[in-house]
């Protein structure tokens, strides 16, 4: 059943008036962004459902761009007086002649993603019960499971954008996510397992045992890691797991391809458009239009339709990721990557769902060719200095590879290296493609992003561990 297209949060006539008002003291572009957000969430800890919360907010952000400078103001509330206040504050520091906006085009409001079960149509009790079952399933994995924390969150976000180029767009986004963290203990050894499932989807995403499977996987990981030895230290081949393993590509390449970093020269990929940076078989995309994925939107937060963008093709950089302002500077079109955490934030170019396309061969075949190496299944997070390309990733689940086989689990490992160097050393991608959900932080803003890939092998990378030698 197709849902009706979203309605705008403000009428076209009012939006047009606010955009015109924002241009009172000049500017090349004025934009009104309106948002309404409602959500709820709770968690289970110590087998008790707690930290239940609900929230609702409405607000607007107005920006005026003049040359290379952006003037921005945001207010809580969507009443006409609130919008006027934001427009006046944004225009206050400009000193130019009044600008004339173009008339707004017809509303562009893509049909929402297919939602089978609206999360807010489900009573609270079944959601609390889902967390209780997660808790039981994880604890059933043995007495070594000491703690289970599971959290559920749902949110509905409606946005409307109007700008002085005549753009008028609305979008509606429903997201839900379950995260489970399990701590297992044996004597003095403590290990953590973490797993999530989320999407631009309804409650059906967690139905039919899908939620419970998340809890079981987290518990299995924690228990397995109890047998871990200290990770090795030194340079060696590294195989990165599918799904969550895509975080590595997200961090070491995705961020460097965001056009704001490129234009500031603060990326190791600056000036590399069209250049070979990886093996010929490597293909990678950013795609904000993938049905039902966590990083998917109908239009981005500047009203540009989301799209599939090939960022690496046959090992060459083929596109950067643009929002409106960076696209204007490079005299190209936005790739639909202008995203903002809320009406309190300016849009910046950032990833949606970013992934390495599946290759050939199985993960086992990739691993069989490694004599001594490291297998990183998932990361606890990572950090990249975009300017130098130096990165570091904490490995939350990792194993030794010995004589072509995955052997002992390892604890306390970190992967360190340099983006271009590591990208160039990818020598195999397997066919077991998988997408996972995450939150990405950039410039103080949080955004839901999808990461994905099959197993990926890097010929050599430094593993930092506690075992010296």
């Amino acid at each position: 059943m197709a849902a009706p297209p979203p309605q705008p949060l403000v009428e076209a006539e009012l939006a047009e008036r606010i955009v015109a008002r924002a241009l009172a003291n000049g500017g090349d572009l004025a934009e009104l962004f309106c948002e309404e957000r409602a959500g709820r969430g709770f968690q289970i800890d110590e087998s008790r459902v707690e930290r239940a919360q609900t929230g609702a907010e409405r607000g607007a952000g107005v920006r005026v761009v003049s040359g290379d400078t952006t003037y921005f103001a945001h207010v809580d509330g969507l009443a006409e007086a609130d919008l006027e206040r934001a427009a006046d504050a944004a225009a206050a520091a400009l000193r130019g002649e009044r600008g004339e906006p173009r008339a707004l085009e017809a509303l562009h409001a893509p049909a929402p993603q297919e939602i089978q079960i609206e999360p807010d149509s489900v009573e609270a009790e079944p959601k609390a019960d889902l967390l209780r079952v997660c808790d039981q399933r994880a604890r059933a994995k043995g007495s070594e499971v000491q703690q289970v924390q599971a959290s559920y969150a749902e949110a509905r976000r409606r946005i409307t954008v109007a700008n002085s180029d005549g753009r008028f767009a609305a979008d509606e986004r429903t997201r839900i996510r379950l995260g489970v963290q399990v701590v297992a203990r044996r004597n003095d050894t403590v290990e953590t397992g973490f797993e999530t499932r989320g999407g631009h989807r309804g409650f059906e995403l967690l139905a039919d045992g899908a939620g419970e499977a998340v809890a079981e996987k987290a518990a299995d990981t924690a228990v397995t890691l109890l047998d871990a030895d200290p990770a090795p230290a030194g340079a060696m081949p590294v195989v990165v797991g599918s799904g969550f393993g895509g975080v590595l590509f997200h961090e070491m390449t995705g961020h460097g391809l965001e056009a704001d970093h490129i234009q500031k020269g603060a990326s190791v990929y600056t000036g590399k458009l069209g250049e070979r940076v990886a093996a010929l078989f490597l293909v990678a995309y950013d795609d904000g239009s993938l049905p039902g994925e966590w990083g998917t939107d109908g239009v981005d937060d500047e009203g540009t339709p989301t799209q599939r963008t090939a960022v690496i093709d046959e090992g060459r950089i083929t596109s950067y990721l643009y929002d409106l302002l960076t696209a204007r500077k490079d005299e190209t079109a936005s790739t639909g990557n202008g995203r903002r955490e809320s009406f309190r934030h300016l849009p910046i170019p950032r990833m949606t769902n970013t992934f390495i396309a599946p290759g050939e061969g199985t993960p086992e075949e990739l691993i069989a060719e490694v004599d001594r190496g490291f297998y990183a299944v998932s990361f606890a997070g990572g950090q990249v200095d975009p300017t130098t390309g130096d990165f570091v990733f904490g490995v939350s689940e990792g194993y030794l590879i010995e004589s072509g086989k995955v052997t002992k689990p390892c604890r306390g490992a970190t992967l360190i290296g340099n983006c271009l160097d590591a990208l160039g050393k990818i020598d195999a991608v397997a066919d077991d493609f998988e997408m996972k959900t995450g939150f990405c932080g950039k410039g103080g803003q949080r955004a839901p992003v999808g990461t994905g890939q099959g197993h990926v092998r890097i010929a050599e990378l430094t593993v930092g561990g506690t075992a010296v030698g």
Binding site: F42, Q53, E57, A124, T192, D385, T388, V468
Partner: protein, 455 residues
């Protein structure tokens, strides 16, 4: 809105919750205005005027607790928030320790928490200050080729809190900070360095010092190479020491301890660190950015000695963890709010690492042959808060013959918090405030031995 007006609003929200069926209720209201200036390449990149006003409401019904927030603050809006909070409360399972905080005395105002002089700075003047920060880094050294955005932020906030057991209060606070990341280049090598400054008003920010620090940090790393893997003495720069102190403060929070998520559970009175380490939490220090007369539950703030001469003296509590602890434990006023959109949780306020007698140069001399760590990456992902084990990416300089020598990058530092605390050899004498790991005042720290993972 005035502080008194906010307090009345909080009380109205508490009444609305009680009328909706809450047994007890607590409302927190925040009203703030702020400015952010970002400068790139000598020009303003963005100028943001931020206005925020909203309310967060906690309710309790027979040992169940729930929370809701909203931005519509009319009577109808407050009724909606109250209904949401009561609905959330009913979902949760009962917990015998969940209850509204009781009054714990009158808070003492903090001198200088709001600097009235901050309001006298026009937008233009604050823009000029941000440009001066950026220019200072470029002019400090010709090898600084760019600055990756210089940022200035300030805020003037009023906050008020009221609960159904008689707690009520309000305060005003101001702050301002600036930071930048300088990019230095030489012989094809590129390095970045951070500079920052903070205070209650833009007048407290020294543009030359902030820009100069970023320039120094970036240029001193030029030519860095991967060091040899080894175990050796390590000196932590105050920014790095602060990040670690923040992490240690986190695992000394009672909720982490009570829920089995701290390597320091059941260690009160034990020696958990070397005698060289003394660490306190102080929510009332006028210089601390996280200071306020009362915490996120209205409990008057104060000083809690955490580690004294190596001995674990206390954990940090809010009213829930104190009640759960029993034995007359009281809240240490460590219920922290990150805004009106989330309920309070136990957190450090300002951490103070007591300085020692040795200067920075003397610490290097003591280390002899080792590593000076100026930056760590991935601390949040690289430290296991349960086991205390960590492995983080690092940059810094080798210490050779008791002095700073070759720059080093792309290496890791690994240990576990327990071993690291026991290995603290000395705290330096020159302290500074650092906004990483919360809000921390510390000097450089020397650690007797850590594992370096490099070439």
């Amino acid at each position: 809105m005035s502080a008194e007006g906010l307090e009345q609003l909080a009380e109205r929200a508490v009444d609305a919750a009680l009328q909706t069926g809450a047994g007890d209720a607590e409302a927190f209201v925040q009203d703030s205005v702020g400015l952010e200036v970002r400068v790139f390449d000598g020009d303003v990149e963005s100028l943001t005027e931020a206005g925020q006003r909203g309310l967060g409401l906690r309710c309790w019904i027979d040992g169940r607790a729930g929370f809701a927030y909203g931005t519509e603050l009319s009577d109808a809006g407050l009724a909606d928030i109250a209904a949401g909070a009561v609905e959330a409360t009913r979902i949760t399972d009962s917990d015998e320790f969940a209850a509204a905080p009781d009054p714990a005395g009158d808070p003492t105002p903090i001198e200088g928490l709001a600097d009235p002089g901050a309001a006298e700075w026009s937008t233009e003047r604050r823009v000029e200050l941000t440009k001066a920060v950026e220019a200072a880094a470029r002019e400090a050294d010709p090898r600084v080729v760019a600055v990756e955005t210089a940022v200035y932020v300030d805020e003037r906030a009023s906050a008020a809190l009221a609960n159904s057991r008689g707690i009520a209060g309000a305060y005003e606070a101001t702050f301002a900070y600036a930071y930048l990341q300088a990019i230095a280049e030489e012989d094809g090598d590129r390095q970045t360095g951070l500079g920052f400054g903070m205070g209650r008003s833009p007048a407290a920010l020294d543009a030359q010092a902030i820009g100069g620090e970023a320039a120094d940090r970036s240029t001193s790393l030029l030519g860095a190479a991967k060091p040899q893997s080894r175990s050796c003495p390590v000196v932590l720069d105050p920014t790095v020491a602060a990040s670690f102190a923040g992490f240690i403060g986190g695992v000394l929070c009672a909720d982490a301890v009570q829920r089995g998520r701290s390597p320091f559970a059941d260690r009160l009175g034990d020696e958990i660190a070397s005698a060289a380490l003394t660490l306190a939490d102080d929510g009332h220090d006028p210089a601390g950015l996280n200071s306020a007369p009362f915490d996120g539950e209205g409990i008057p703030s104060g000083r809690t000695p955490l580690i004294e001469g190596g001995t674990l003296g206390a954990y940090l509590h809010d009213s829930y963890t104190a009640r759960r602890q029993g034995n007359g434990q009281r809240s240490t006023a460590n219920a922290a709010r990150s805004g009106y959109r989330s309920p309070p949780s136990v957190s450090t306020s300002n951490l103070l690492v007591e300085p020692g007698a040795r200067s920075f140069e003397e610490l290097l001399a003591d280390a002899g042959e080792g590593m000076y760590i100026t930056d760590v990456a991935g601390l949040h992902s690289g430290v296991n808060p349960v086991s205390g084990q960590f492995s983080v990416g690092a940059t810094g300089r080798a210490i050779s013959g008791g002095e700073l020598s070759d720059p080093a990058d792309e290496f890791t530092v690994a240990s576990d918090l327990q071993s690291m605390l026991m290995a603290v050899a000395a705290a330096g004498s020159e302290t500074r405030w650092v906004p990483f790991g919360g809000s921390v005042n510390t000097a450089a720290l020397m650690i007797g031995e850590m594992t370096i993972g490099g070439a």
